[in-house]
Symmetry: C2
Subunit: 337 residues, 2 copies
Amino acid sequence: MKSNITIKDVAKKAGVSISTVSRVINDSKPVTDEVKQKVLDVIKETGYIPNPLARSLVTKKSQLIGVIVPEVSDSFVNEILNGVEEIAKMYDYEILLANTYSDKEQELKSINLLRAKQVEGIVMISWIVEEEHVEYMQKCGIPASYISKTARDYDIYTVSTSNVDATYDMTKYLLDKGHEKIAFVMTSQDDTILERERLAGYEKALTERNISLDENLIKHGTTTYEGGYNSMKEMLDQGVVPHAAFVTGDEAAIGAINAICDSGYRVPEDISVAGFNDVKIAKMYRPKLTTVHQPLYDMGAVAIRMVIKMINKEILEDKKIELPYRIEERESVIERR
Amino acid sequence: MKSNITIKDVAKKAGVSISTVSRVINDSKPVTDEVKQKVLDVIKETGYIPNPLARSLVTKKSQLIGVIVPEVSDSFVNEILNGVEEIAKMYDYEILLANTYSDKEQELKSINLLRAKQVEGIVMISWIVEEEHVEYMQKCGIPASYISKTARDYDIYTVSTSNVDATYDMTKYLLDKGHEKIAFVMTSQDDTILERERLAGYEKALTERNISLDENLIKHGTTTYEGGYNSMKEMLDQGVVPHAAFVTGDEAAIGAINAICDSGYRVPEDISVAGFNDVKIAKMYRPKLTTVHQPLYDMGAVAIRMVIKMINKEILEDKKIELPYRIEERESVIERR
DNA sequence: CTGAAAGCGCTAACAA
DNA sequence: TTGTTAGCGCTTTCAG
């Protein structure tokens, strides 16, 4: 049973040459039915499994696709990963995961690690796209697609949803519900492009209503629950009490809700809260979170399909795919009386 | 830059033989400092990366460890995975993940897939341990460790926490808080051993207080949020209103809480709820979930350390490692007045 | 339709 | 200390 059985053993036992065995396992060339059956029997009998290492070494195909993520346990990432994985399996690719913890150095290391492992393509999920890394990957000529909220500026294959529009729409929605003092808690770890874009959407909506930007209502946090909690807590402790809070990440939004409750306010009665992404927990928490729904699973699926197509040298219609988002009205935002 | 550079190219460019190059990249044999430097320079210059496929083919070491899980997105699994991953990286192993969706067939397929991919060992996370699969793995002689709540019965390497004791303790805790009608919602997809064990713990605690088992208070659900929601909803709809509910999984417990709230009761004022595992969301939800804390990260770390040791033929003191659990008192359980 | 042989990129004896 | 050489298990010409 120990997998020491090689193609040679099978060939000997079946009384044929190794090339014949190779032909039947790949059915790459015609083989007499009789011989074929014989070989198949021996394979079953011995429990032979072809060694993919040896195979890859000669074919240069590893059937491996690398996926680089900022943090596996982040639910946003997680749900995208589901899509990536399922499609990969469908096409008989294996996923090699690399976690960067949003560290630029680590990201570069991961690229090299994956390259070393002979991945045929890479799906990159990243909060911020590093120009340097983009160039590096292009120079390596490795098929890649990006899932990122800031990738549109580069000449690379990306799947995304529109940030500015979504932020604008949600802010507008909040405004329409009668909220004027809207806290804006960003969750984008010191990235300038992303924050700038989002801020632009937020600002645009306010400006349309002739509401001026209040710096005290803006916080730069992180994507985590703790990030949202701390940002909100800080604001409240400074005596700034908004009508509503728009937090650009669901876990952080829930952190914010808890901070609000811990400070003695109620959600949504006193302060409405809106999130971003629509991850699983958004429906589990009470009050259910009103949020910007993103088709996470699909984003993953589309991204990996792109790289598989690139691997197969198929033609891709679009370099940039933008998937639709929508505002998912639930319970955490109510009309302000 | 394209990684077509082989050891040969480096050798030629450095004016040495390929074995010398091999020696410096592995520093397996002494090489003159001068020559070494020369080779190192060429490597840097060309951006050469050794092909691990070729290397593995000859050394028979893939630096790959397979991890089989019932469901990546389950937070219990997820948090264990963090531990597994981190330790793997520490020892320079790469993780190959296989998702079985708790399907027996798929699990067998995964074992073979991983075997085919030449993994050096396997960490198996599974709700139920299949005897058949255990035997198969043993026959293959592949180093493996199991994280499972029902693995103790087999002669295999396992890491776990004590189910019966934990269930007993939590039930007792609930009893001590003055709850007598305690709903018991299991989350173990039709597994008999696990359910039997847990039920035993639950029953033992009740018996000690001379409380007889009420079948109406017992539900067999699934690990998911929905599973917990539906089980609880069903019970309530049948007119059975317990003093407390003990749900053997946190996500399901939160589902149960929501079902309770949706039926017009309050948690914990009307009905207390306790969970199991202590995953991230247990602290995020409000009321914060009182639950059985399990050292998830450590379980993963210990499990993979076991297989790494087995790979290195080191001696393992224990075949069965049982990690401590504890009852984490938070807000979802209160004293019954 | 089948076999012999070359070679994928690397490591590990074995000589020198 | 270094180079030569024989494979690792497989696919793929190239002859037959």
